[in-house]
Symmetry: C2
Subunit: 365 residues, 2 copies
């Protein structure tokens, strides 16, 4: 291993490492010393580069797929590269503006923002884009309304502060007078607005058990509603992934197997949800903007050949979800990281605009 003039040497070593990663991301084929010496690092001879690369290999940053033939970055190298980039990333104002414009055009009104945002992410990155919303039960309720459908059924409509609108049928088995439905709606909204769904549930249970007079006649309805409220959770958290198709375009024949594996996971939403939930926690705790998980850093086996670039989004001061892209390890991290960050901001903006509307409280009668 080379020694002497430690800072200078280290500097140069890292520079070479960065070049290898960068070149590899672009060309997707092993990088040799000559190539580097000729293209990027004209002031260092290929022999020197060779020596340094050997050191880097010993340190676990590079990997030689065949005895003779260039070297490829390991996950550790990507990790270094991404960490290095983290400070640098900034998007050209022009680019930023272009994306913001597209966001306004394509996402627009707060109807299915999550879906649309994930599509736009996919579109702009050329990889798969996702938007994930943590457990609905932990989200703050903006409104919970009931529409009478007749036939002993109500349609519950839940609106959260993050703009999600969910609805599900509640079967009572008998019809409820419209006025009673209204009473129920008004009562619930007056009481639970501002709580999380979980809190609301607990609160309502208490309230009913306490046997308050004004809800006596709708108590059993409320109970039924509470029971059904759990149901949306069966699907797990909300997760949109789009643009898997586009990945076919940017993937090389050789990497199809990786892609296949990935698809398998994506179809199996449960596990991915789990992973994202965890990642969200990490990210929130670390306080970082954008997180990058590279290959083997992902616990799920099938994802060890892809990278995930993700960011959280907040409602008020609560972190309620994540968004990002899933793509090949050799992606353009610089670009993608800024993109994800920006989209996160835009999504947050979109939600807080929606949220500026204070969930109007009817006074119940």
């Amino acid at each position: 291993m080379r020694v002497l003039k430690p800072e200078v040497a280290k500097e140069r070593k890292e520079k070479i490492l960065r070049w290898v990663v960068q070149q590899f991301v672009e060309s997707r084929r092993p990088i040799g010393s000559q190539l580097l010496a000729d293209s990027a690092l004209k002031d260092i001879s290929s022999a020197t580069i060779r020596n340094i690369m050997k050191d880097l290999e010993e340190e676990g940053y590079l990997y030689q797929p065949h005895t003779s033939g260039g070297r490829i970055p390991t996950d550790k190298a990507y990790r270094y590269y991404v960490d290095y980039l983290t400070g640098i990333q900034r998007m050209a104002a022009q680019e930023r503006e272009r994306i913001e414009k597209q966001y306004d055009e394509r996402v627009g009104e707060l109807d299915n923002v999550m879906l649309k945002t994930s599509r736009l992410l996919a579109h702009l990155s050329g990889a798969a884009g996702f938007v994930y919303s943590a457990n609905v039960a932990d989200q703050v309720v903006k409104r919970l309304d009931f529409l009478p459908l007749g036939g002993g059924t109500l349609l519950a409509v839940l609106i959260t502060e993050s703009g999600t609108v969910r609805h599900w049928p509640v079967r009572l088995g008998y019809d409820l007078a419209p006025s009673k439905v209204r009473l129920l709606s008004n009562f619930i909204n007056a009481e639970i607005t501002g709580m999380t769904l979980n809190e609301a549930q607990k609160f309502l249970w208490q309230y009913i058990k306490a046997g308050h007079r004004e809800v006596a006649d709708i108590a059993d309805v409320a109970v039924q509603v509470l029971k059904d409220m759990q149901k949306p959770r069966a699907d797990g958290d909300e997760l949109y992934i789009e643009g898997l198709g586009r990945m076919l375009e940017t993937t090389e024949e050789a990497d199809y197997e990786d892609l296949r594996q990935m698809m398998r996971i994506v179809e199996e939403r449960q596990r991915l949800s789990g992973l994202l939930a965890e990642k969200m926690d990490d990210l929130r705790r670390s306080g970082k903007d954008v997180a990058v998980s590279i290959g083997s850093e992902n616990e799920i086996k099938e994802l060890q050949n892809v990278s995930i670039v993700s960011s959280t989004y907040r409602v008020g001061d609560r972190t309620v979800g994540m968004l990002g892209i899933i793509g090949p390890k050799h992606m353009q991290y610089t670009k993608v990281m800024s993109l994800v960050k920006l989209m996160g901001d835009l999504l947050e903006g979109s939600i807080s605009a929606w949220n500026a509307l204070p969930g109007k409280e009817d006074d119940y009668e």
Copy 2:
């Protein structure tokens, strides 16, 4: 061209054609005369088969990718094959039961049936499954409600007879008293239930223009609502496609280009929607159960290497949507056709159960 004993000859010719198609669907490589003579048609010599195949080629049923090397079915051959199959298809009771059970488990309550159905279709067929719902504007309204969000905004919730629930924000710019909102809801529901959205819109315009006293004070709100009602149409019709990932699994390297093309189309929903709308019309008119479009029979260029098996579903006596699968031309038509048919029935059943609930009318005050 062979002549003589016309019926017998024709019979055998078709038999050979069917075998070629069937073998090709399984092996995905050109079928030669020897192969057939050895495997399936042991009582006819390869030479005879050769002669007949030549005839079939002249008639446009088979195609020789290389001067020497087996033959491949043309779209015309698939068409013949599918038509032949149409009479035969029937699913084993056992299989049917298994699928019905899965449907109950996985689709269940009428919450996002369309999405879930398309996922199940994909899952069971190994190809991409879709469910398409025709223009919302032509669907019968079951309810149209408004929830006050405050900040000069209402959330409109539209429930159609086919079980679709749509919602969109209506910005009024000023707040409406809760009682007024209720009045609006009740009035609208009492009047328009049972109309299509389009009819409802026309009706309401007339009503407002006529200046009826009881709606005078909410007229401008109604106008705004009507305007915003158009919006959901911007997305075009509702279309869910799932399972594109799974197609990777069943596709061979060589056919990836076809797959890529297909994905491109799917991302571009507009055109696909158009195609499906047309197809739905054809299907409804012909009165057939299941339609199969093979390769070049699809107008869209990018879809000329895939087949679409589709069926319609009804609400009452109105055909409101389609469902089916998109897959490789060489798919197991027998299986897929029965599957699509069955899923259509199940979806219809699911909707009509929901629809048994009569959109409860409040009498407005």
